[in-house]
């Protein structure tokens, strides 16, 4: 079979749309990218390589150049390395964080980075393959793949699985509660006074049993705290343990309450930041997908 339209155009379009997709994906999830300009360069460069590999795949196969497949295999190898690269670098930075991301969040981010390169390739394969049939089809298929991959990358957010609302802080002796959920024992009277003055409480009511199990994961809760602190700041410092943000669950209801002593005591912003935290793949509860879990749910 010979192509109806030129392979140069196909490769060109695949390269452009694929690279564009990678660039868009850098921006979609800005929270995973706390302003490391050199990281942008690294990932964009890899994205261009991924797009190029995707773009040449279909034209090469049509030319009966089956060795092109080995290049794709090579590419996947590279992308796996991206994953460990992101994981390692975030892991190193973890030491310097006041409020850590946690292993689960780092693993989630690393996987997302790997997946983004595959999606880049999908976009460029779709665009270049369809271009060979007709240029308009190429643009259409590439754009469709792009929109789909952006939707795919969006993932779920905590606000979709739980009702997030402000919760009142109270002390009972040294014990800090948010509504009926016990959080911690604060010994120093001055620390209690500060927490009363500046602290904010949030309650997360899981919408179903899957959500309950997701919120039970300490990794998911650490991710929520990290994102909340990234948005509102924290009064904690090295050696100042009493302002450590915490998220604890009620053993009776599975409800999660968190306390944060932010630099910007804006409860609406805090609720928003908690809602927008991504649901981590590693923490996602799946109780309702099992027969026993469904039985137990009612």
């Amino acid at each position: 079979m010979t192509a109806l339209y030129g392979t140069t155009g196909a490769i060109g379009l695949g390269l452009v749309l694929g690279s564009f997709a990678r660039w868009l994906m850098l921006r979609v999830d800005y929270r995973n990218y706390p302003s490391y300009p050199h990281g942008y360069v690294t990932h964009l460069a890899l994205g261009v390589v991924a797009a190029f590999l995707g773009a040449v795949a279909v034209p090469a196969l049509l030319e009966r150049e089956f060795t092109a497949v080995t290049f794709l295999a090579l590419a996947t190898q590279q992308f796996r390395e991206v994953r460990s690269l992101v994981r390692d670098s975030l892991h190193e930075l973890e030491e310097g964080e006041l409020v850590r991301r946690g292993q689960d969040y780092i693993e989630g981010i690393a996987r997302v980075y790997e997946a983004r390169n595959y999606l880049t390739m999908v976009v460029s394969v779709a665009a270049s393959g369809a271009w060979l049939l007709h240029p308009v089809a190429g643009v259409a298929a590439g754009s469709a793949a792009l929109v789909l991959s952006l939707a795919f990358m969006r993932g779920r957010q905590v606000g979709q699985i739980a009702v997030v609302r402000p919760g009142a802080l109270r002390f009972q002796g040294p014990s800090l509660f948010v509504e009926d959920v016990y959080l911690m024992n604060v010994g120093l009277a001055r620390a209690r006074a500060r927490i009363k003055e500046w602290g904010l409480g949030v309650v997360l009511d899981p919408k179903d049993d899957n959500a309950r199990d997701t919120l039970a994961s300490p990794g998911q809760r650490q991710a929520i705290l990290h994102d909340a602190v990234a948005a509102l700041g924290v009064r904690k410092d090295v050696g100042v343990e009493e302002f450590t943000p915490l998220a604890r669950r009620s053993e009776r209801t599975g409800r999660v309450a968190l306390v944060l002593v932010p630099m910007e005591p804006d409860i609406r912003a805090l609720v928003g930041a908690v809602k927008r935290t991504p649901v981590l793949e590693a923490s996602r509860g799946t109780a309702l997908r099992t027969r026993a879990g469904r039985l137990a749910a009612d």
Partner: protein
């Protein structure tokens, strides 16, 4: 890489030495104000959280 003792009682600050026994540094305070002050300083120095056991003793724990 520094190794640290976690979830370990690093020190006790108490009004009543009778409530503590065993191998842990105990700081006896005469007044509640002194207990608060000593516990605060130790908390900062040891990078530890101060917990109130409710029996007159404050314990310092690194989490």
């Amino acid at each position: 890489m520094d190794a640290r003792l976690m979830k370990h009682i690093l020190a006790v600050v108490t009004l009543d030495p009778g409530v503590v026994a065993g191998g842990v540094p105990v700081f006896v305070a005469q007044t509640e104000q002194e207990r608060e002050e000593v516990a605060f300083l130790l908390g900062r120095i040891l990078e530890a959280m101060v917990h109130d056991l409710g029996n007159g003793a404050y314990v310092l724990v690194r989490h």
